[in-house]
Amino acid sequence: MSLISMEFLLFVLVAAVGYYLIPKKYQWLWLLVFSYIYYASSGVKLLLFLVYTTGTTYAAGRLLEKVEQKELPKKEAKAAKRRILTLGLLLNFGMLAVLKYTNFAVANVNAIFHTSFSFQKWMLPLGISFYTFQSMGYLLDVYWGKCKAEKNPLRFALFVSFFPQILQGPIGRFDRLAVQLYQEHRFDLQRMQYALQLILWGFFKKLVLADRAAVVVNQVFLNYTQYSGVLNLVAVLMYSVQLYMDFSGGMDVVMGVASLFGIELDQNFKRPYFAVSITDFWHRWHITLGTWMKDYVFYPVSLSKWMGRIGKWSKKVFGKKTGRVIPICIANLIVFLLVGVWHGAAWKFIAYGLYHGLIISVSSLLAPVYRKGLEIFSINQKSGGWKVVQILRTFVLINISWYFDMAVSLSAAFTMMKTTVTGFSLSAFQDGSLLTLGLDWLDYLILLVGCLVVFFISFRQERGVKIRESLAEKPLLFRWAVYGMLLFGIPMFGYVMTTTGGFIYAQF
């Protein structure tokens, strides 16, 4: 059941009306029932995978707590807890790895050893990456004593399966999400209005902008050898529009729907194209994946014994300052390798992750040189002009990474980059080539105006303006003009795709 289907809207309506009519103490149970119905709608058999993750994580969490209560000697308790944690992680990440990466492994083994192992035709359970990461985050939190294990298996099942977020996140944290899921919620008209506005905004980004930009993206990326450099560049810029509008639009719908039930999910986007560096970009793009990686991979790997040994060695060899940063850079590369692999089982995604990781690591190592350079050229780091330069520089670097992300293969990504540079000519803007990519001039105009609207709103948000609160203070006529434009504009200007247009991140 796609988030942009009429069935989904009806499903949410029934769920929300019932939620506020039944006795409040059963609200969480109501959400659980609807979450399982929602997941089952994508395939009843897939529920088995969801139950597997829920069951194994719940059991591991409870076992960890039992060890804690036994008052065993410190060393013995630590070893027992580590065994339980390892088993829990293996059972779940193992399942994810087998389902998601077997065919990638088979393809590489066949290519290297000239074997002919057959590919598996397993169906990847929807949202498995998201709910597995969310569950394993919980398990690690229990292991570290950051939160208590949930005693009620049904309540825990809701934490894993809460329907608005299960397909494409945001990846929730137990301490912030669970308490809201189990709370009793009163109907709040203001919250409902804000939630509906956010949902409409998400539909606008997805249906008017993302699906329209996707036409050019698919045409050029799938037939990249037929197009000139400038059209390759247009396609990658369109992809930066499509991916952001698709993913952040989806998040707006998800967060709006959750808010209808009184649940505020963690922010996943903070105007990423205003980032001044790649590090800043990852603080603004898919935030919950970034913070998950930071807390559950980056810190543990950096603080591990073997990384400590590398740190001591590098301090001896490279001196205190550089030596201190080297193990952190290695951990950072491991994180971004995983971010790449998380996006999909292909070499292009590994290149995508390592590209980001390398830029962040090298920037960190060269930070003193960079600071010196700014001093020499007397650049005022706080000036508006310098900020614009930083934003543009980051945007270019991000767009280079989109070649890896969207190209059909790693070699196609490099070919497209080469064509962009070597076959660049502005004639495509004059000879009508732009109109051969599946969109007419009106589509381009809608895209331009739509992007300017999003830019204007994002700019205001960057300045600290809260858009919905600010809108609520405007005169009635103005407010309803905005609602009207969204309500009628979306069906009027929404791009009708010939295929069923799902969300990009719902494939993970």
Partner: protein, 76 residues
């Protein structure tokens, strides 16, 4: 405390560590800076910091960091 302030200033200058109580919340320290601080604290005070200790409550101010160091020293 003086030694701690010296470590912080060396890793991330331009912050008034004596008054700032939002080192994490206001993003004065990024994850690279946090790990550099951890590495220096472990060496200077002979303590072991675990991922469970890296929470905003322990890193939001120099005072909070000092309290964490003292606690970890006591725990041995």
């Amino acid at each position: 405390m003086e030694q701690l302030l010296e470590i912080l200033s060396e890793i991330q200058p331009d912050v008034d560590y004596k008054t700032c109580t939002t080192l994490i919340d206001d993003e004065w320290l990024d994850s690279f800076a946090i790990l550099s601080i951890v590495s220096e604290l472990e060496e200077a005070f002979d303590i072991g910091i675990t991922p469970a200790d890296i929470v905003p409550e322990n890193f939001n101010s120099a005072q909070a960091l000092y309290q964490m160091v003292k606690r970890l020293q006591e725990e041995g």
